[in-house]
Symmetry: C2
Subunit: 227 residues, 2 copies
């Protein structure tokens, strides 16, 4: 099946959500990795609970809430300055090294590209700029516009709306398997960027393709691109 | 605020979802607890993803899917017999010791009681019978009737519909803090049975009361019951 465009997830896919663990480790020795994992888990959990119950608040708030829970669970009490520093680190998450080369390669081939993210527009812009990726994308789509987080259909609908084509013409790329399942259910052409060698989620749905790096994704996209 | 009835969550609240860990440990030494935790986490995650994407399948299926993921993640491959045994254990989860005395005490005081659970009717009935709790409840409400899992409003609506009163007249009891947040948002009078001493979820909502045991819950309910 040919594709006409690509929509990338941001957090976990282009941006390393666990890179904040180093700063957390500096503040709370021995607990950095646990805090980073709980922070991410709770952030995601809160997006779902708020979406299911129609209690949307933006991803910046939810990210802060997840951090506060993670600190409480792991028994640490950050100062206001430490909390601000951790949130600041999340605002400028480390991007994966391979991103720039692969996105440049796709742009050179004329593939229209978007980010479709749970993040706020300000968070995404800030992270892209810090990673030197701004200017490579045709659309930056934040679910903040629709007031529902992924995997709500309203969030995924932003892709077809931005590109003016069917979801099945768009390659949706995510390292988050749950995001891939939601996007596949919605109707996208999907590739799971399985960075961490995780098992496939058991949701009765499979992506069209899989890769281990953004290079795998770009290879697949360029072979499928119909111009 | 007086209450007219009680709705209990089942899994985690009356039934010990981690009691399956012992059997998992017997089959896969050193990995039982990890498998039980992942099993529960994925089971809950799948209820939310399926509800957000309108891809409902019943809790028995979702429970099996969660088990399969947990086994894959922790690198074990159960035989068909081991899998059936683990699912069978989930069908007859250990109930908490205090349940019978406290539910009997509430029933003696004339408090109308329901279970409002993500489980199928068959799963709940089987677990209640195994725990000797059948006959103490006025209503057994399974979200299977509405085809959406908690925390969808449609699931919580079953309580007011069954008791014929407002959600604010019903004491909703759960050990799952996310369930308490959803029920509070919905409008129930809520008490969080914090069995494991966990931090409050950061969702901008608080239960009306908290307890550490079902005795705490029954004390609160009897003091609030308006007959």
């Amino acid at each position: 099946m040919p594709i006409k465009a690509i929509a990338f997830d941001a957090y976990g896919t282009l941006l390393d959500v666990y890179s904040v663990g180093a700063l957390a480790e500096e503040f709370f020795p021995g607990k950095g990795a646990d805090i980073a994992v709980t922070w991410r888990d709770k952030q995601i959990e809160y997006t779902r609970l708020r979406t299911m119950c129609d209690r949307y608040t933006d991803f910046w708030q939810v990210t802060g809430d997840g951090l506060d829970y993670a600190c409480a669970l792991h028994g640490v009490a950050p100062t206001a300055q430490q909390r601000a520093a951790l949130m600041g680190a999340y605002e400028k998450l480390t991007a994966f090294d391979e991103n720039h080369a692969q996105l440049t390669r796709l742009k050179a081939a004329g593939v229209p590209m978007a980010i479709l993210s749970n993040g706020t527009r300000a968070m995404i812009d800030s992270a892209l700029e810090a990673a030197g990726l701004d200017g490579l994308l045709d659309h930056v789509l934040s679910v903040d516009t629709v007031g529902k987080f992924k995997t709500a259909p309203e969030a995924y609908q932003m892709g077809p709306d931005a590109f003016g084509c069917d979801a099945s013409d768009i390659l949706f790329v995510s390292s988050n398997c749950w995001d891939i399942c939601g996007a596949t259910w919605f109707g996208y052409h999907t590739i799971w960027l399985n960075r961490y060698g995780l098992p496939m989620e058991r949701l009765g749905v499979e992506p069209m393709a899989r890769g281990k790096s953004l290079k795998d994704v770009a290879d697949y996209a360029l072979a499928s691109f119909s111009g």
